[in-house]
Amino acid sequence: MEIILISLLAFMIIGAIIAIETYDLLSSVISLGAIGFALCIVFLFLGAPDIAIVQLIVEILSLVVLLKLILKREDKDDTVNYNNFSIFSVIFFTGIFITLAYFFLKEIHKFGNIFQTFNKGEIYSYYISNALEKIKAPNIVSAIILDFRGYDTLGEATVIFTAILGGLVLLRKIGRKKDETK
């Protein structure tokens, strides 16, 4: 089980390195798609089919958009010149992340072991024991995101609404026509 997960994660990291380092945009987009589908399989192994469905569909949609954009263009990826500041900032923030992750990841429960360390005082034990009785929803994830944590879903809907407003403003017809007349 863990061997499969580790090999999938290694595959994703190799795909990410290929997507960054390759010069051809088409192979970069294809390796990006491979990362997404590997992530979908990882979610299935972790027991999260809700997120696996959404990940699969959104990956397909974004792959279609990127391919439609890439196939019509012929320009290639520019090489990035690394200067001292970018190298320093990468090392600095990676160091901060590793130091903080060392302290915080010790507090997380051991992998696949959540029911053995079932603590009555913590909030997820309330969700797990009360979702079926009070909400009458067998899908506990749905009960959490739409009942216990309804505000979160409202915020998520607001994010999508704002994204489409931004897209409309950037890609609207009137602005394009004004730009062409210049």
Binding site: P49, D50, I53, V54, I57, V58, I60, L61, V64, V65, K68, L69, K72, L132, I135, K136, A137, P138, N139, V141, S142, A143, I145, L146, D147, G150, Y151, T153, L154, A157, T158, I160, F161, A163, I164, G167, L168, L171, K173, R176, E180
Partner: protein, 156 residues
């Protein structure tokens, strides 16, 4: 039916005509049983938008732009968001707090159970389907305009 040259070949068009019904039914199923099985409004809406994207790729933009324009998609988008907030305010006025689950809760494993979750899933379905598909339509329209622009520049 009138033949037109936009889009892909007739094989793809025939298969897309058949498959779009199954994709729509699967999207509705995922949405309506979101509180019983894995899935929900976001997954169902994304599947529906992916089916519409299949139509967009197979038949070309012009046929779809006759049936869906941005104003209709915007109205559907806003209606989904409005329905979510109205359900939330129902909890505020008839019960104690915003998004309070006061609806009829029924029996476990029934369709009409678990209160507001089913109705919120339907609202999110309308919202996400309209939203993702309008983003794709916007990007395809952007491509047409930029192509016109480059062809005009070439003529100059």
């Amino acid at each position: 039916m009138k033949q037109n040259n936009s889009g892909m070949t007739i094989i793809v068009k025939t298969i897309a005509k058949l498959v779009i019904y199954f994709i729509s039914v699967f999207a509705f199923y995922i949405t309506l049983t979101g509180h019983l099985t894995p899935g929900g409004g976001f997954a169902g809406g994304a599947i529906f938008a992916a089916g519409l994207t299949l139509l967009l790729l197979a038949f070309g933009k012009d046929i779809l732009l006759k049936k869906f324009n941005y104003s209709k998609l915007n109205i559907a988008d806003s209606l989904g968001a409005l329905a979510f907030v109205i359900i939330g305010f129902c909890g505020f006025f008839f019960a104690s707090a915003f998004l309070n689950n006061f609806f009829f809760k029924g029996k476990v494993f029934h369709i009409f159970s678990s209160g507001q979750i089913l109705y919120l899933n339907i609202a999110i379905f309308v919202k996400v389907a309209a939203c993702l598909f309008s983003i794709l339509l916007l990007l395809s329209m952007f491509r047409i305009l930029s192509e016109n622009k480059t062809s005009k520049e070439k003529e100059k």
